[in-house]
């Protein structure tokens, strides 16, 4: 009886062991991974959080704005402000009206503020901020779609009033003449605004990812004119091979290696 009991016990153990070994591991969903990254971030393990979020983005081709915001935050806290700003730009590009985009904008401003404070402690000497020039100052606040619609409405009103002025009687012509004059002025203003807003919206932004990235005066220059700090934002003016002509907010232009820059894109890597 003892032998039978022992054999049964051993057999049961073997069966249980085989069952345990052959049971498939519990599947981990993408949401589980996202939560794991969030938990790592909350626990202060920023490198781990960045690795998890980066894995979701690169391996699983996810481009959710929320993921990009978290990835940017983790990258910044892990000491990579350039990549962080790039991800925040991408989050805004992905869905500008989303809550995550709002958070990305706030985070980007905080990152810039932090970098500028670091500058005050003997840092780079550059001012970190979104790219700006005269066009962005004048028209950066305008939504391009609204500006264009306003211009088209004013444009249409101008020619309708002109047509009515030609067709209708003298009494109506006086009114329509005034409308036409106003519509002409409105068309000029709204047309300029629509152009400016569209121009600003079409700016391609670049973020310096490599601290000390060289900026050359010309494509064939050997000695860089400037060493750009990480997380500096600029506008892409032209491309030539592996060089990108960028314009800084200070007005300086030059050629920088493409590898040292990041360009926001919502397409998965």
């Amino acid at each position: 009886m003892t032998r039978t009991w022992m054999a049964g016990t051993v057999g049961s153990g073997v069966v249980l062991a085989v069952l345990w070994m052959t049971t498939p591991p519990r599947a981990e969903t993408l949401d589980d991974r996202f939560r794991a990254g969030t938990a790592a971030f909350e626990a202060g393990r920023y490198d781990e959080a960045a690795r998890v979020f980066r894995d979701l983005r690169e391996r699983y081709q996810l481009t959710s704005p929320g993921l990009l915001v978290n990835l940017g935050a983790a990258e910044f806290m892990a000491g990579r402000p350039g990549v962080a700003l790039l991800r925040f730009h991408e989050a805004v590009l992905a869905d500008p009206d989303s809550r995550a985009a709002d958070m990305a904008r706030v985070n980007a401003e905080r990152v810039r503020a932090a970098l500028n404070e670091r500058r005050g402690e003997g840092g780079t000497g550059y001012v970190f901020g979104p790219y700006h020039d005269a066009w962005t100052a004048l028209f950066g606040w305008m939504p391009p779609r609204g500006a264009l619609l306003t211009f088209l409405a004013s444009w249409t009103l101008l020619f309708l009033s002109l047509a009515g002025w030609r067709v209708l009687g003298s009494r109506a012509r006086r009114v329509l003449g005034g409308v036409a004059v106003a519509a002409t002025a409105g068309s000029i203003l709204t047309g300029l605004s629509a152009y400016g807003a569209a121009r600003v919206a079409s700016y391609e932004v670049a973020v310096v990812l490599e601290d000390g990235a060289p900026l050359y005066d010309r494509e064939d220059s050997i000695e860089p004119r400037l060493a750009l700090p990480e997380a500096l934002e600029a506008r892409v003016v032209a491309r030539r091979g592996a060089l990108v002509r960028i314009r800084l907010s200070s007005g300086q232009e030059g050629w920088a290696p493409e590898r040292s820059l990041g360009f926001p894109s919502v397409t998965a890597p």
Partner: protein, 702 residues
């Protein structure tokens, strides 16, 4: 050039060199001069030998003019060196510079003499807790002879630094002296910092406001964190400067026996009992009687300081200040300053120092050696009576010890940084790292931190801080107390042993990441970016085009109104044109309308032949009315006449009239034969009308 210039003995201390053709040069020679070299303007340098039997003397204060000034009695000057060298005076400036430069300089500096005295006292905070410190800045401007205050009986001075700056604004030389004091309150309450007063000619010329500082008990601290232990007074006594506290960068003035000398070098040592190991502030100050045309001074011989450890401080370049010695005004210039620390008890001598004082103006300068007298100082060992057991030899001064942890909660395996700071004035070199006694469960290791030490020489000798850092690594979970650390020192001012100590510190150590009271090790305030808690990962946004609408749509919206307007405009213009050219159009269309009517007649001939001929006649008359404005009611003869009057081809007119006759005949007397000729009539009429139409505007068809 006269190669034989004459030299004239003028008087004691003054002689004149002259050369023919040039103005005489007047020189001071307050001592025996063997030769002088003169360069006359534009000429080769000539050397003249002058023998002047004068005792060494400095020139009396005078304006930089070539006129002789008042003479000095020989006994008013004490030669500092019997080995006085012959000096060679050169005049390298041409006459232009000799005349113009002084005028320019005088005009530039004319506004620099009116200096207003002012003093301001500011504190970096008005309230603090016991154990904290505040920084008091005293800024004094203008010329003054002495300063008084501030009266700070409720504070300990644990640090002091001084600085001087000179600026020229609008031609006015502005001298500013700054004294920064680091004060620690002795008690809680509303403590007063008295005013600082600037004195000149024995009267107050400027005064600052008194300050009131609110000092509170430290929340949660023991009742007397800096309180005295039973054996020794606990509070650090004021630093050596605190009681004297002259907010001056230099020491008090020299003794009265120096009064009356033109210049002297004085070694200043604190007038109190000095101890071995105590950094003693020493100054060698050159006093020059006010108004003496001083061009500069250079050190010729520096003291050796044998038997001392020396911390030399930088000598400011523009540190002159006005003092009075027995009522005689002097300008004082610090030639050397620093802290010396005696290595052993007994009498030690501070060597003499010699400087070469250069006087004169831009064109005539002379140097005089001025030496200090040796100073014998008696250094004593700190007394054995009352010496604490933990007193370390050389710890002489007034110090405050503090400790702080960079975090009060860590996890097992993590570390916290314990920083112990000893600040104050005295022999900071002798302060050793405290022995940190940590409870079991914590492991302590020293972190190199000497690069964070700060030492500077000031009136108190040496002040600054020593900083010791220790890494406390948690090995077990629990709540630990880092016990207080004591520092015993000998205060040379109070001549007593005193003691300062830190407060006990608490450190909470949580378990591993699986639990424990600590949720986060990293300070949450360090996180400046936020994340989203959840996200729709399936969201795949499409790349957005930068243009808000497709180009075709925008183009359509742009072109549509324009085309609409152009269409309306065209219609309006067309209507206007038609109204203007109505008759011409009617004439132009007469033939086509006639042809249309003829085709209609040919296609659908009326049943009644009379109707056909009546219709044909109507076509002809309508054409004539439209084309030639000939009334349809006229008889045929009048029609012929009217057409001929319009220069229409007579053949065509005849054919037309014949056809009209045929129509009339057919209407009133239709015949079968004529009726069979309908088609031919239509052809003839069509050809006839075409021929008539070609006669437009008087160009008849021939």
């Amino acid at each position: 050039m006269d190669r034989d210039p004459r030299a004239h003995r003028a008087d004691t201390g003054r002689f004149t060199i002259s050369a023919s053709g040039f103005p005489a040069l007047s020189l001071f020679a307050p001592r025996p001069v063997t030769a002088a070299e003169a360069v006359f303007p534009g000429r080769v340098r000539d050397t003249v030998t002058v023998t002047v039997a004068a005792a060494e003397s400095l020139p009396e204060p005078r304006p930089p003019t070539p006129d002789p000034g008042p003479r000095l009695p020989p006994d008013r000057f004490q030669s500092s060196s019997p080995r006085f060298r012959s000096l060679v005076f050169r005049f390298p400036f041409p006459m232009f510079f000799r005349l113009v430069l002084p005028m320019v300089l005088v005009s530039c500096l004319s506004g620099s003499l009116a200096l207003a005295q002012s003093v301001t006292v500011t504190a970096d905070r008005t309230s603090l807790a016991l154990g904290e410190s505040l920084r008091l800045r005293i800024v004094m401007q203008g010329r003054f002879e002495d300063a008084r205050g501030p009266d700070i009986p409720d504070f300990d001075v644990i640090g002091k630094s001084t600085g001087t700056s000179i600026s020229v604004i609008g031609g006015t030389v502005q001298q500013e002296q700054r004294v920064d004091l680091t004060l620690v309150p002795r008690r809680a309450g509303r403590l007063r910092i008295g005013p600082v007063e600037l004195l000149s000619d024995g009267r107050v010329v400027a005064s600052s406001q008194a300050l009131t500082i609110q000092v509170s008990e430290r929340p949660g601290a023991p009742p007397a964190p800096q309180g005295p232990p039973p054996q020794a007074p606990a509070q650090p006594a004021p630093s050596p400067q605190a009681d004297e506290a002259p907010p001056e960068p230099t020491a008090p003035g020299p003794p009265d026996q120096y009064a009356g000398r033109q210049a002297f070098l004085w070694a200043h040592v604190p007038d109190r009992t000095l101890y071995v190991g105590e950094p003693v502030y020493v100054e060698y100050v050159l006093f020059v009687r006010a108004g003496l045309p001083v061009q500069g001074a250079r050190a010729e011989r520096l003291p050796d300081f044998k038997g001392f450890v020396v911390d030399q401080a930088a000598t400011p370049e523009h540190q002159g200040r006005r003092v009075r010695v027995r009522g005689v005004p002097y300008d004082a210039y610090v030639q050397w300053r620093g802290a010396v620390t005696a290595l052993g008890p007994g009498k030690a001598t501070l060597d003499t120092m010699s400087v070469i004082l250069v006087t004169g103006d831009l064109f005539s300068q002379r140097g005089y050696r001025v030496s200090s007298e040796p100073v014998v100082v008696d250094f004593q060992d700190p007394p054995a009576t009352g010496r604490p057991a933990d007193f370390l030899a050389g710890t002489v001064g007034a110090f405050v010890i503090r400790s702080v942890l960079d975090k009060d909660r860590i996890r097992v395996g993590d570390s916290a940084l314990l920083t112990v700071t000893v600040s104050g004035s005295g022999n900071l070199r002798a302060v050793k790292a405290p022995d940190v006694q940590v409870p079991e469960g914590l492991r302590v290791s020293r972190v190199p931190s000497s690069d964070l030490d700060e030492r500077m020489v000031d009136l108190g000798g040496v002040s600054g801080r020593r900083l010791f850092q220790f890494l406390l690594t948690a090995e077990r979970e629990g709540e630990y107390e880092i016990p207080r650390m004591d520092l015993a020192y000998f205060n040379p001012v109070t001549s007593r042993y005193e003691r300062s100590h830190t407060d006990p510190l608490r450190l909470v150590v949580a378990g591993h990441a699986t639990g424990g009271p600590v949720r986060e090790v990293r300070a949450p305030e360090g996180r400046i970016v936020e994340i989203v808690g959840s996200a729709d990962l399936s969201e795949r946004p499409e790349p957005r085009t930068m243009t808000p609408f497709p180009a075709e749509v925008v183009g359509g919206f742009l072109a549509g109104p324009v085309l609409l307007f152009l269409g309306v405009e065209a219609a309006v213009r067309h209507r206007q044109w038609r109204s203007r050219n109505h008759e011409a159009l009617r004439r132009r269309k007469a033939l086509s309308e006639a042809r249309t009517a003829l085709r209609r007649l040919a296609r659908t001939p009326p049943e009644d032949p009379r109707d056909f001929w009546a219709g044909l006649d109507r076509v002809i008359r309508d054409f004539l009315r439209a084309r030639f404005d000939v009334s349809a009611d006229l008889p045929h003869e009048e029609v012929r006449a009217a057409l001929l009057a319009r220069e229409v081809s007579s053949d065509a007119v005849e054919v037309l009239v014949a056809e009209m006759d045929a129509c009339a005949f057919g209407r009133f007397a239709p015949s079968a034969a004529q009726d069979q000729d309908r088609g031919a009539s239509l052809d003839r009429v069509r050809a006839c009308l075409a021929a008539l139409d070609r006669a437009r505007d008087g160009q008849g068809s021939r």
